[in-house]
Subunit: 347 residues, 2 copies
């Protein structure tokens, strides 16, 4: 049983490997050879005022890479009017999110590591795969709305799937946006332009990526142009009319929410994923498009839209398999006795 | 982060503590102050011929004991005509089933240990609570059908809730049944009688406990007597007419199966929990009865039946809280650095 930390995970996978692993896993999924566990959220009131405790379980099994993965989040969340903030209350001011890998050949636990690197990486990798199959291949100008950790990963992912010449970034705070642009230009070598409005960022863009933590509309239908591709990680980011006008529309997974179990006294916040008037369950999925079961974009003039609204537990198995294989090959991580995590009792 | 093994877990909890912990947790659940995560099963073909790989995730959160728990099973299962057999393919010929505890106050991981002791214990504790609230308090004669690991726990549990004078046990193999009776009589001090037919075991019993791994009917309606209580851990064990004739009928949880995700090529075995003609979703639950929201038995003549067909993830939080508290108090287990299982990345 291998224990890895985030610094090690960072060294063990890059965005191109992550995208390739997901692309393979999605093909397996579409053909019914791999599965995602049903996302489960268990939510109770938190101990502190105005907080909730959220216990999230995701999982997936991919037999052809021999891996089953659990992703578990134990989160204390403070609810603010326009967003939710996770509190770092674990010792040392830390968060608790874990990925655990198991062998489908022997059942044994193989590795455990935090989810903080993989989580935004797999979200962005799915967005970039959406763009790969739905956006024009000759898309060179990207608009990015957001300058947080999700936006950061979106940049790393889109430059891996497209020959991006410029990324025009908007987020409300100028200072933060400028710093983000400098950092990402340095990291990727791609020109980053800081824009003082979303509309300015979007103007002339081939691909628009919304990657924020907001409950408010950021992208409006009137900004759509023929040939444009729009991606979102929160349904609330897009004006519903913009989604309705897309000629090619796909969703990451048809189930919008997981199977929730919520304590009676918790009043859930508004679902930031739902898009009024859009029936997610009738849309084709990215895995179906990747597997060639449903067409993606067929003409350069089409407007396309990818709704990356909910993760698939299987992503953690796909990405975890790469990390585990490379950790073994490079001798990275701390080994614990596997028998600490197995048993001779059958039950 | 505490690592415990099964030998340590055995020392840290006994059946009375387990039953008491569940009773409290069920009251919290009925009042909407705690929740079970939605059981999730992800199933794919296994690597070996005629096997499946099953990745099971259960969980629960009980704020008043400060614990969230995951129970995870990574199982390779061989399907035989009349039963399913888990294969011990982890190194050393071992199985993989884990319970992991988290703090609802800080989010941090607290402990990880195998599930082999807790699993049958919590099943039997729920059955015994069913008997506590549904059987006659003056029940002294118990019939037990089965002599495996589930039956073993059922004995330990029923002697904790009732003043049992004799347990009349039937299972098909005489040698195994006799050995089981000798062992359980030695362990509990309660007289065990080995019976060569189920009907003989049931004759004169106040409480009948079916605890087998079969797909076949073991208990028939014609054996019912006024005042009798019947418990089952598999719907298939009872003739449906026996369930229909119960005056007081309750189920552990209304959802019969978890949220399953099954790879296309896997043909699922017959559901051994379903009882033809019985609509589980309309039955009262044990937690509701414990909380006094629904009456249990009201007269000595009633026939009662408890369908302990599916676990509740919350059981692992309830029992885990006791184990963790006592492990800390007694200084039992191996400590790993908590920061190996937490992170400073928010995601």
């Amino acid at each position: 049983m291998l224990i890895l930390n985030n610094a090690e995970v960072t060294k063990l996978i890059d965005m191109r490997e992550c995208i390739a692993a997901l692309e393979d896993a999605y093909r397996e999924l579409a053909h019914g050879r791999s599965v995602s566990a049903v996302n489960s959220d268990a939510i109770t009131p938190g101990c502190l005022h105005d907080t909730i405790y959220q216990f999230k379980l995701n999982g997936g099994v991919i037999p052809n890479v021999g891996i089953a993965a659990l992703r578990l989040d134990s989160d204390i969340i403070k609810r603010e009017p326009r967003r939710q903030v996770k509190l770092a209350l674990a010792p040392g001011g830390r968060y608790t999110g874990l990925i655990m890998l198991f062998s489908t050949e022997t059942s044994e636990p193989l590795a455990i590591f935090p989810d903080g690197i993989v989580n935004p990486m797999r979200v962005a990798a799915a967005s970039a795969l959406g763009a790969k199959y739905l956006a024009r291949p000759d898309s060179h100008t990207v608009a990015l709305i957001g300058a947080g950790w999700q936006a950061r990963s979106q940049v790393m992912a889109i430059v891996a799937t497209h020959e991006v010449r410029v990324i025009r970034c908007y987020s409300p705070t100028a200072e933060r946006r400028d710093a983000f642009c400098r950092e990402m230009q340095h990291l990727t070598g791609v020109k980053m332009e800081s824009c003082d409005s979303a509309e300015r960022a979007v103007s002339g863009a081939d691909i628009v990526l919304c990657a924020t933590n907001t409950n408010e509309t950021l992208f409006f239908a009137r900004w759509l142009k023929p040939g444009m591709h729009v991606g979102t990680i929160r349904g609330a980011e897009l004006e519903p009319a913009a989604v309705m006008q897309a000629d090619v529309l796909a969703v990451h997974e048809r189930k919008l929410s997981g199977a929730s179990a919520v304590a009676k006294s918790v009043v859930l916040a508004k679902d930031r994923m739902a898009i009024p008037g859009v029936d997610i369950e009738r849309l084709p999925t990215l895995p179906e498009i990747i597997a060639g079961m449903v067409p993606g974009r067929t003409t350069p003039q089409q407007i396309s839209c990818f709704l990356n609204l909910r993760g698939i537990g299987l992503q953690f198995a796909a990405v975890g398999a790469v990390i585990y294989r490379k950790a073994l090959a490079k001798g990275i991580g701390r080994e614990l006795p596997t028998e600490w995590f197995t048993e001779d009792e059958v039950s």
